[in-house]
Amino acid sequence: MRSAASWRLDFPALEQSVHGTRLAYLDSAATALVPRAVIDAMVSAYTHDAGAVHRGVHALAEAATFAFDAARADVAAWLGVPADEIVLTFGTTDTLSGIAQGWVRPRLAAGDAMIVSELEHHANLVPWQLACAERRAELRVCRIDDAGALDLDHLEQLLADRRVRAVAVTQLSNVTGTAPPLDEIMQRAHARGAIVIVDGAQGAAHLPPSPAGDFYACSGHKLYGPGGTGVLWATRARLEELAPWRTGGGMVARVDYQHARFREPPARFEAGTPNVAGVIGLGAAARYLAALGPARLEHEQRLHARLVGALRELRGVRVLGEPRHALASFVVDGVHPHDLASVLDRGGVAIRAGHHCAQPLHARLGIEASTRASLGLYSDDADIAALVAGIEHAKAVLA
């Protein structure tokens, strides 16, 4: 079996130095680097399998179609679900907006409600704000505690009047690194007649691969795959309930001037020419992750414990909540996150500074902005050491 240290060599982006220094890439929660296997698959797609999918009979179109369908199967196999339950989209934001349009809006009546948690990323908040405003429904917000854990008693209260149609919740917070108990949330929501929509943008890459909820969304670019690719998973029965929100070629079985009959899922939700090379790259990413197996997350969890430990040992550094996986957000006394980010960058350390597309959560935590260090399968102890040295340096310059 290959050692974790050798995985780094699969990522060409890590071969470069930044500002004359070794690159410590600690921003995988924003976007993950891409292994050579994914790049090669996409180059091959553009070089050889360059046709349109599901519409041509010539050799290139056939090759593209075959590779595209194989990629769907690879993604499904990695997630452990049937291939016809995988809808290929353009990303989590796209998927969640589609569920808002195709499932939530038609079912939300005046006086109904939806629930989100205080943890949510803007992508799993704004679609529901708009849907609720349009349908005169109420958007309820489930509290978290200071550790970043969901308050299940509060969830129960919010569900009690049975007006809630859907609960939208993250699988893994991109700020606190906490993972809400989705099985528990599912049970409680279903008991009160609500479905659960899960934002898996972070969770898919850092928790054991398995879709959760009634509708599950994740993004290729956080899974070491290309940007502009994503997944919607749901059971066949749920997909039958979902109205197509993007319409046109490829999703229709028969069309006359007045009417269109739709194809079966997943094709029903994949109108237009898809991101063929991107999907082929996503399939390669799924195969790559499947080949690494559970050792990948074991390595990440070990490193995560060291990351959180190292941050907590630093004077003047406060870690937000109690991060469990993949990342840690923190604030440094007297040093604004953007100033810290610039100093770290000059030391070759790439982190995220700001609100991480979760402004309400930062307000809930009583801060404007934070700094986030996030791990990928290629992260190592040297990255954490560079981060620690950079923080000390920034404190010396700025605090």
């Binding site: 500002h19 007297g334 040093v335 604004h336 996150p337 953007h338 100033d339 610039s342 100093v343 000059r346 030391g347 500074a353 700001g354 609100h355 402004q359 404007e368 902005a369 340096h393 010396a396 310059v397 700025l398």
Partner: protein
Amino acid sequence: MSDAVRALYQEVIVEHGAHPRHRGALASPTHAAELDNPLCGDVVELQLVVDGGRIAGVAHAGHGCTLSIAAASLFAEQLIGRTLAEARALAAELEAMVAEVAGAPDRAQSLGSLAVLAGVREFRSRRACATLAARALVRAIAARRG
């Protein structure tokens, strides 16, 4: 320490960031605007009192990094006594300076103490921090006219 970091966070910038001048709010401003930097969520609220055609009072509030607060502080200091046209010209000069390549000659003559912000030219993603207050000024003047 990298030279670029040292050039960016000169003592005067760190000092203005920690102890900004003209910080707060005015009782009855004649011009005001709030502007945010969508990249990072920094917010500046700039207020002016124009009296007899010249800026008699300035205040800035909001939240942000050392760079944006120091830039607002330095900019506010320079505004007092200027006409609105002169203030806009200063804002334009600052915009022009930060857009230059690193190492271009400093515009100490036209920018005065704001020339110390030249280090930001080396940090493309941070330029908006240095110009946020200047952009708020342009907006405040335009809003008043509109």
